[in-house]
């Protein structure tokens, strides 16, 4: 399959390893990967903070980049949620019939990374090897907006060598929420503290998720507290192997 990647502004700039991991997994599975160079940002930060006028042009940009794609894979549940929940309304707002049609055609082809593997390809075992104790945090957007369910966990369970441990309160928000972490820093920190306590209680070496925004938030506290616990995007775990392939 020809897979077009939307790597997101966040991953591109701050977490390039996630994008590389996605490429690695998809190519290992025999797919052709392409990266439309003109892509930038889905507009989530602007839209969710109330800056609609700034977000709207980013919709047209996204559509122009991915119009002819067979499938679009995105390693971020919150960006996919942004598109599914808000792009149709944004197109409506722009009052552009052609754009609206293009959005309608494009959206069913857009998948979050784990969702693409489990729902579109029907896979669980992608040939990964990751001999570490890991716990999984269900990001709110993946959980509630995309309905990923236990898809990510099924992928993780199929990883050889992994010691997967359950996180207490796995469905609780980590407190990131984009600009929420800055605008309501105290409340955000209190939510974060609950989450990091739960992570430490698992005695896992690493916490994983389908979204680097949650992970960056968790990583920030885990590092500040010198816990030694790492955060790692699900794609990076799935991309790891023992070198025998």
């Amino acid at each position: 399959m020809r897979v077009s990647l939307f790597i997101t502004c966040y991953n591109d700039t701050l977490f390039p390893e996630t994008g590389k991991a996605v490429v690695r997994v998809l190519e290992r599975l025999g797919h052709t990967v392409e990266f439309p160079a003109g892509q930038t940002c889905c507009g989530q930060m602007h839209w969710n903070t109330g800056y609609q006028a700034e977000a709207l042009p980013l919709l047209s940009r996204f559509v122009a980049q991915f119009k002819g794609a067979e499938v679009v894979v995105v390693p971020s549940s919150s960006c996919v949620a942004m598109m599914r929940d808000h792009y149709p309304k944004m197109a409506e707002q722009l009052n552009d019939a052609a754009l609206k049609r293009e959005v309608e055609e494009l959206l069913p082809k857009v998948f979050e990374f784990s969702e693409f593997l489990t729902k579109r390809l029907g896979l669980e075992d992608v040939g990964a090897y990751y001999p570490h104790r890991v716990t999984y945090h269900a990001s709110c957007h993946g959980l509630r907006n995309l309905g990923l369910g236990d898809g990510p966990l099924r992928l993780l369970r199929a990883v050889r060598g992994i010691d997967l441990v359950e996180l207490q309160g796995v469905e609780q928000c980590c407190g990131f929420g984009g600009t929420f972490a800055v605008k309501n820093a105290e409340v955000s920190s209190a939510m974060l503290a609950e989450k990091t306590t739960a992570i430490l209680n698992t005695r896992a070496e690493a916490c994983t998720a389908c979204d680097n925004s949650c992970l960056m938030h968790l990583q920030g506290a885990l590092h500040r507290q010198r816990t030694g616990v790492e955060t790692v995007h699900l794609a990076e775990i799935l991309a790891s192997d023992d070198g025998t392939r």
């Binding site: 990266f35 507009g43 109330g50 709110c140 409340v187 500040r224």
Partner: protein, 480 residues
């Protein structure tokens, strides 16, 4: 907090109020415990309903349909209520509603009223208005009684005293009811309240109530409750005055079949409310001899006119969103500076109060969606929050640091060239802040200005040397 009415016009902004609420460890413990208990009960009784999602969808449809034809159903209600002997009053805003109620009470000649919990009377600050007119209101709902005696404010729409624990309640009863020997078992507290209230029920001849639903088809009014105090307030007085927002109407009696299933399960985790009272006008043989209902608008028609905000009016005030909200669970209700707290408060208050008085409330959410997930009538609260955030931004204009930064970022994202330049610039700009750790990895422990909130408790990893797109390009030319 005590005594002063919650009003976003005078309250501090949410982050400030949240900070002080979060400093109160006892309050946080009480809120956490209470919401945990209710959520657990709710999950159990919702779990036993195989058709819960269908019920939610039905609830949403009933509410949507009602709002789409609100004028028709309100007139139908007025007609049928009048026919049954009720007197319908219309109030444009809180002041008018207060005036009507105070005048009605005065006309009875009574200087006392018994009240059954009503968020609407909190919304319009009825008690101070009654007191100013020389009328003493007695709250009869246990939680409202605790709030009233403790000179406190409600912090939850269903469980207004959920921020208090048993010891605190005992202390309030001991001093305010003058019971120095009061024990501390729940039974002791319930007995004390019962004794205190019974005397009021038998003596006071005027009742003031809220309403859960107004039934257009019959002109009936429905109140659901768990303590029986409502039943007393609705049947014993000679005059009953009910105040309800115009959003409380439902078209048919049969609609209660759905709403009275989803409401108690969502609100208190009960399969059914212990007391469901429906009264239609007056009856010579029984109950109050005079029944008045005040139908209050107070900004609701404006909300109705806003296509995106409209779904807020579908709310049946179950409070499930509050219990599920991780922000509310950290701060409790008072931090919202409004009688409506939590997710529903964050969307309702700014619309009821004119946005400029509640600009921080739409941002009091991480948009995690837990509220939407539990809402029994499927109000998409995150969607409304985002809509209101846009209104805040439009009101504030572009002359502030955040708006300028957002606009600049928007410009950057509109061009690949500018985006790449910004990525390079970011690496340069951050470099004075980056410190290397033992593993040679760079970290930022302090950020200036608005971003400082981040680094209070978190580090930030420095930007990697190479972006994904740089890697991708290189990989192309290197042939992997």
């Amino acid at each position: 907090m005590s005594g002063t009415a919650l009003d976003p016009r005078t309250a501090p902004v949410f982050p400030m109020a949240a900070r002080s609420a979060m400093g109160d460890t006892q309050l946080r413990k009480n809120v956490r415990h209470a919401t945990d208990v209710i959520q657990g009960k709710r999950a159990r009784v919702v779990g036993e309903m195989p058709d819960w999602q269908e019920l939610r969808e039905a609830g949403k449809r009933i509410r949507q349909h009602t709002m789409a034809h609100l004028d028709v159903y309100l007139e139908e209600f007025e007609r049928n209520c009048t026919k049954a002997g009720g007197v319908v009053h219309w109030a444009r805003d809180a002041a008018e509603a207060r005036r009507i109620i105070v005048d009605l009470v005065k006309a009875t000649g009574s200087d006392e009223v018994i009240k059954i919990k009503s968020m609407t009377t909190e919304e319009i600050q009825l008690n101070p208005a009654l007191e100013a007119a020389g009328i003493h209101p007695f709250e009869t709902d246990l939680a409202e009684l605790i709030i009233q005696l403790g000179e406190d404010q409600p912090s939850h729409i269903v469980v207004p005293a959920l921020h208090k624990n048993r010891q605190q309640i005992r202390e309030i009863f001991r001093t305010k009811m003058n019971l120095p020997e009061l024990g501390e078992r729940p039974q002791d507290l319930a007995d004390a309240a019962r004794m205190f209230l019974r005397e009021k029920f038998l003596r006071v001849k005027t009742g003031v109530s809220g309403a859960n639903f107004l039934i257009a088809e019959t002109g009936g009014v429905c109140v659901v409750e768990s303590e029986g105090n409502g039943r007393m307030c609705l049947t014993l007085p000679e005059t009953l005055i009910t105040v309800a927002g115009i959003d409380k109407v439902v078209p048919r009696f049969q609609d209660l079949e759905v709403l009275l299933q989803v409401l108690p399960r969502s609100a208190t985790g009960e399969r059914m409310n212990p007391y469901n009272s429906i009264w239609t006008g007056v009856d010579a043989a029984d109950g109050p001899k005079a029944f008045h209902i005040v139908l209050m608008d107070n900004a609701r028609t404006e909300i109705l006119a806003d296509a995106e905000g409209r779904q807020t009016l579908n709310c049946i005030r179950c409070g499930a969103c509050q219990n599920a909200c991780p922000v509310y669970r950290q701060t409790g209700g008072h931090a919202y500076g409004s009688v409506y707290a939590g997710p529903i408060g964050a969307i309702l208050t700014p619309q009821l109060m004119e946005m400029e008085h509640a600009q921080s409330l739409p941002y009091a959410s991480s948009l995690c969606g837990a509220c939407y997930e539990v809402c029994p009538v499927k109000i998409n609260i995150p969607e409304v929050l985002i809509h209101l955030r846009n209104k805040v931004v439009e009101q504030n204009g572009m002359r502030n640091v955040e708006a300028l930064a957002m606009r600049a970022m928007g410009m950057i994202f509109q061009s690949e060239r500018r985006f790449r330049a910004a990525q390079r610039m970011g690496r340069i700009a951050e470099s004075p802040l980056v410190r290397k750790d033992g593993q040679g990895q760079g970290w930022i422990g302090w950020l200036p200005g608005l971003l400082g909130g981040w680094t209070q408790v978190r580090d930030l990893q420095s930007m990697p040397k190479e972006t994904f797109r740089d890697w991708w390009e290189k990989r192309g030319t290197d042939g992997k």
